[in-house]
Chain length 278, copies 2
Amino acid sequence: MLYLIGLGLGDEKDITLRGLEAVKKCEKVYMEAYTSLLSFGLSTDGLSTLEKLYGKPITVADREMVEEKVDSVLSEATSFDVAFLVVGDPFGATTHTDLVVRAKELGVEVKVIHNASVMNAVGICGLQLYRYGETISIPFFTDTWKPDSFYEKIQRNRELGLHTLCLLDIKVKEPTWESLCRGKKLYEPPRFMTINTAIEQLLEIEQNCGDRGESAYNEDTNCVGLARLGSEDQKIVAGTMRQLLAVDFGAPLHCLVIAGTTHPIEEEMLNMYKLKGV
Amino acid sequence: MLYLIGLGLGDEKDITLRGLEAVKKCEKVYMEAYTSLLSFGLSTDGLSTLEKLYGKPITVADREMVEEKVDSVLSEATSFDVAFLVVGDPFGATTHTDLVVRAKELGVEVKVIHNASVMNAVGICGLQLYRYGETISIPFFTDTWKPDSFYEKIQRNRELGLHTLCLLDIKVKEPTWESLCRGKKLYEPPRFMTINTAIEQLLEIEQNCGDRGESAYNEDTNCVGLARLGSEDQKIVAGTMRQLLAVDFGAPLHCLVIAGTTHPIEEEMLNMYKLKGV
């Protein structure tokens, strides 16, 4: 049996009782590294905290490993119970459908244990979940690569009065340019996009697209920035893009919501997060 | 302090360690009755199972109580720790923003403990969460009241190729017609909408709106029905509206997803849920 277990958003205490029970009976425990490196601080003490709680070692599975060794993990799951831990929910922002489909092909039974993910916990900002349109992802721009396909999605959401959840880029285990040239495996340090960078990029794109006579948002558009959502030290600030540009949201992970039209009850809640004295 | 604690979707084991820790230190524990009556089967043993786990009594708070006595609950929270338990996530399908706003007004600190809700757990069907448009709610039709404002939302989502999550009506503690006339408090037994009823109503509305030359979907449109999502005995079936009409999904709660355009990886996952031999 393969248990696909959501860990929630904060720390080791956000696993459910059902999830903990499953981990404890599994012979082998893998943990997806993609977001966990940043949100659980696995480079430092995060991993050992989890190992202590579970009473067994965890193998951190980076993307390479998941892609290259998925069949060997799944073949283990044919003979004993294996846990695959995922930050948030197994089908949240980073989905694991490919793992489930492959398991099915190999005849491995899969049990999913859900948890909170950014996709629902973002509701805490007061903008109601059922009034969100399509979710977008904002990638890091480079000097020569500035994809803007998210722009028209935001525009569509805004025209319909809907809110837009923006997931911000995470770069984990990106091979360095040098390593690509030399065939050696060297990786860039992990990077995550801040709310500030996201807004800068959004405004840059708006300027370009605005020239074409469109306008999806501007510096005065209301947004909510959410950092470390679900953690003890989460930071949520509501304000215009211009205002949020000046806020230091601190450590990762960050995400951003661009508000659509707001209802009175939503506004009351947003007011709680507004910058004071601005 | 007021702890607003999500219980997740299945049973008592779906609370998080953080949530359980908070409940245990609270002097008073309330539980929202709106969805819990149905999903936790509180009329039978569900409540006592929870009380045993928490080691303290739970006061079930129906909507009337939440509306009428919210200030007394909140005033308790100024002098000791109070837990307010919510099925799913506190800001999921049924939001509790009004409670948070009122707490803030009274100077009560609020701590939110997230969990899975239908809004993210629905990702298990394989249709990826970031490709959903606006969520809709389908109310019970009566002979004289057939609101169809959800129709154009589905239509918009489908035109954009997006999936639509349909939340289905729940009627809990509805006063009887007799009680309204006599001024006595008598309530209808709880009712929940099945996937079958939802599809019947959707097709009825399509027929009416189709006459106006529009068409958002039809009997051959692909959908996924999800019953008791997140429970041990959840039932997920993918198929056309016509096919799902004939499926017995069993006990509540039910929800329905109307698929937009699907990607290959989504289709692979949907195939796992398709009816065999149809």
